[in-house]
C-alpha cells in the first residue's frame, strides 16, 4: 500500500469518528434534563483539555500539572477580547487558541530543557501562580471578581430551524463543533508522521535523536499544540458565565490529569471515557450518599476519595487505563 493512500484512509476515519462523536452528544442530550445537558456541555469542553494531556503525556511523555493554568490563559484572553475590545465570541475562541499557543511556546522553550519531575513541579508552581496574576493586576484582569461572559442567546436562524432551544442546549451547540474539530485534529496528529515522531521521543530520546529527530524542537511543538487545545477549552469553560481565578483552580489541572490517566493516557477513546467519569462520578456519588443518608460532612469528600482511589488503582493495577484494559480483554478473546 502506498504511503499516500494510507493517509487518505486515516483522514476518512478521523472525519467519521468526529462526526460520530458530534451526533452521539446531540442524541444523548435529547435524553437528558437541563442540568445533565449542561454537564454534557462541560464534558465536551473538558474533553478538549483532556485531549491536550493525551497529546502531551500520552503521545510525547511530557507531564503537565498546570493545564488548568493554560486554560486560564485562554479564558482570560478570550474574555478580555470580548469585554474590552468588543470581539465576537466565535472569533475570540479562535484567537484564544493562538494566545495560549504563544504562551505554550514560551513555556515549551523552558520545558524542553526539563524532564519528568522537574517539569511536573514547574507546571504545578505555574498552576498556582497564574491565577494569582489576575489578582495582582486587578485593574486589568478584574481580580477575584472576574470577568462575566456568556454564550449569549441562540441565533434566530437556529431556533427557526430546530425550534425553541434552552440555554443549556445552546451551550452544548456552541462547544460541540470545537470538540469535534479538536478530536479530528488530535486523531490526525497522532496517526501521522508527526505523531510517530512524538512517540519516538517519548519512548527513547537517544534513539530518536539518532534517527535524526530534533528532540528539543519536537517537545516545544507538542507543548504549543497542547497549549492551544487547553486554551480553547479554557475559553469555552469560562464562557459558561465567569472567567475568574476560582474557575481555574489547581485542582482543575489535577482533575484533568486524572481523567486522562483513568481512561488511558495513550488512548483517545480513553480520554472520552475519563472525561465522562470525572464529570458524572461526583453526581452519581452524591445520589448514592443521599439515598444512604450519609452525613454531608463525609459526603462532601467522597467524590475526591473515589477519584483519588481510582487514580491509584489505575496506576498500580492497570497503568494503561480503561482503554488498555479493554484492549487486553479483546486480545484475549481472539486467542
Amino acid at each position: 500500500m502506498s504511503k499516500r493512500r494510507e493517509h487518505k484512509i486515516i483522514g476518512l476515519r478521523s472525519t467519521l469518528l468526529s462526526i460520530a462523536l458530534f451526533l452521539f452528544f446531540i442524541l444523548l442530550s435529547q435524553q437528558f434534563d437541563p442540568y445533565n445537558q449542561s454537564q454534557l456541555a462541560n464534558i465536551a469542553t473538558l474533553l478538549i483539555a483532556v485531549l491536550s494531556i493525551t497529546l502531551l503525556t500520552g503521545a510525547s511523555g511530557q507531564i503537565s500539572l498546570g493545564q488548568g493554568a493554560i486554560m486560564a490563559v485562554g479564558g482570560y484572553g478570550s474574555a478580555l477580547l470580548v469585554t474590552r475590545l468588543g470581539f465576537s465570541m466565535w472569533i475570540s475562541f479562535i484567537l484564544a487558541i493562538f494566545i495560549s499557543a504563544l504562551f505554550g511556546l514560551f513555556l515549551g522553550l523552558a520545558a524542553a530543557r526539563l524532564s519528568g519531575p522537574y517539569l511536573a513541579g514547574t507546571t504545578l508552581v505555574m498552576a498556582l501562580a497564574i491565577p494569582s496574576i489576575a489578582v495582582r493586576f486587578e485593574s486589568f484582569f478584574s481580580g477575584d471578581v472576574g470577568l462575566s461572559v456568556d454564550y449569549g442567546m441562540p441565533p434566530v436562524w437556529l431556533t427557526n430551524l430546530v425550534g425553541e432551544i434552552s440555554i443549556e442546549e445552546w451551550s452544548l451547540y456552541v462547544v460541540l463543533p470545537f470538540t469535534a474539530a479538536a478530536l479530528f485534529a488530535v486523531l490526525n496528529l497522532s496517526n501521522t508522521r508527526t505523531g510517530r515522531t512524538w512517540r519516538a521521543v517519548r519512548d527513547n530520546e537517544v534513539s530518536a535523536a539518532l534517527s535524526g529527530i530534533n528532540i528539543q524542537r519536537t517537545k516545544v511543538i507538542v507543548f504549543v499544540c497542547a497549549s492551544g487545545l487547553a486554551g480553547l477549552a479554557g475559553a469555552l469553560y469560562g464562557f459558561r458565565g465567569l472567567v475568574a481565578p476560582s474557575v481555574y483552580p489547581t485542582d482543575l489541572s489535577l482533575t484533568l490529569l486524572t481523567a486522562a490517566v483513568i481512561g488511558g493516557l495513550r488512548s483517545i477513546g480513553g480520554a472520552i471515557f475519563g472525561t465522562f467519569a470525572i464529570v458524572f462520578l461526583p453526581d452519581l456519588i452524591e445520589k448514592i450518599t443521599k439515598n444512604l443518608a450519609i452525613p454531608e460532612t463525609i459526603g462532601n469528600y467522597l467524590p475526591a476519595l473515589t477519584i483519588g482511589t481510582l487514580l491509584l488503582l489505575t496506576v498500580i493495577l492497570n497503568p494503561r487505563g480503561a482503554a488498555g484494559a479493554l484492549e487486553h480483554i479483546r486480545h484475549r478473546k481472539k486467542h
Binding site: 508552581v125 498556582l128 483519588g308
Partner: protein, 303 residues
Amino acid sequence: MTSFLTAFFSGTAQGAIYALVSLGLVLVWRGAGIVNFAQMGQAMFTTYIASQLIQHSYSYWSAFVIALISGAALGALVDLGLMRPLTSRKNSQLLNSQSMRTTIPVIASLGILGVLKALAGIFWAGEERGFPSPVAPNAIKIGSTNLAITGFDLFVIGVVFLTLVLTTIFFTKTGMGLAMRASALNPEVTRLSGIKVGSVRTLGWAISGTASSLAGLLVTPRTNLSPNTLDLLLIVGFTAAVVGGLTSLAGSVLGGFILGYVISFVNVYSAPENVFIAILIFLLLALFIRPQGILGSKEVRRV
C-alpha cells in the same frame, strides 16, 4: 531598619521550615528517583493526628513525638505499598518507555495526595483549626524594646538546627548513613557490596516522612490546619530543592533558607499577593541559569 530585621528573622524561621521540606524531597529523589508530591499530604495527615491527640488532652510533646513516628511509618508505607512495586515492575509495556518511568510515580504520588486529603476531610471535617505551639508567639523583649524576633521563631530555628546537625551526623558518621549515600550514588555497586538497597531506600522514605512531618508541626501554629494548608509548603519546598540542587542534601537546606528570605522580603517590602509570582519567577530563573541547582551535580547521561 526594623522592617529589614523583621524580614530577616521571619525569613530565617520560615526558611528553616522550607529547608526541612526540601530536605525530605531530596532524600526521596536521591534514593528512589521520585519527587514525592504527596509529601506534604503525609505531613498534613500526621499533624492532624497530633492535633487530635492534643484535643484529647495529651501533652504537646507526646503528640509531637507520635506525629514524627507516624510520619516515618507513613513514609515507609508509601514506599513499601506503592512505589516499590510500581518501579520494580519492569515487564509492563507502559513503563518500558523512558519518560513514563518518571511520569507514572509522579501521578501515583498525586493519587496518594488526593486520597490523604479526602480522608483527612472525612475524619476531621474540613474546617480550619488552630494548632498549638509550645512557645508563645510574642516578640522577645529586652527591657522595654521589642526585638524583631519572636520566641516561636527561635523555637523553630532551634529545632531545625538540631535536626540538621543530627542528620549530618547520621550521614557522615554512621554506617547506615554511608549506605544511604552509597546507594543514592550507585545502586548496582552498593548492592554488590552486600547492602540491601531496597531497605535503605525505604529508610530514606521514612526519614523524609519524619522531616516533612516536623515541618508540618512547625508551620501550622502560624497557618492553621486544614487539608489544603500545606500545599503551598510543597511548592516552596520543591522550588527550594531545585534552586539548591535536587541531588544535594546540603543544597536543599541552602535552597530552603534562600526561599525563606525571598518570600519573607517580598512579603515585607512588596505585597503578599506577589509571593506566588515571585516563586514562579525565581524557579524559572534557577532553571534557566543553573538547572542542576547551586550545589547539584550535573547529570551525566550514559548511552
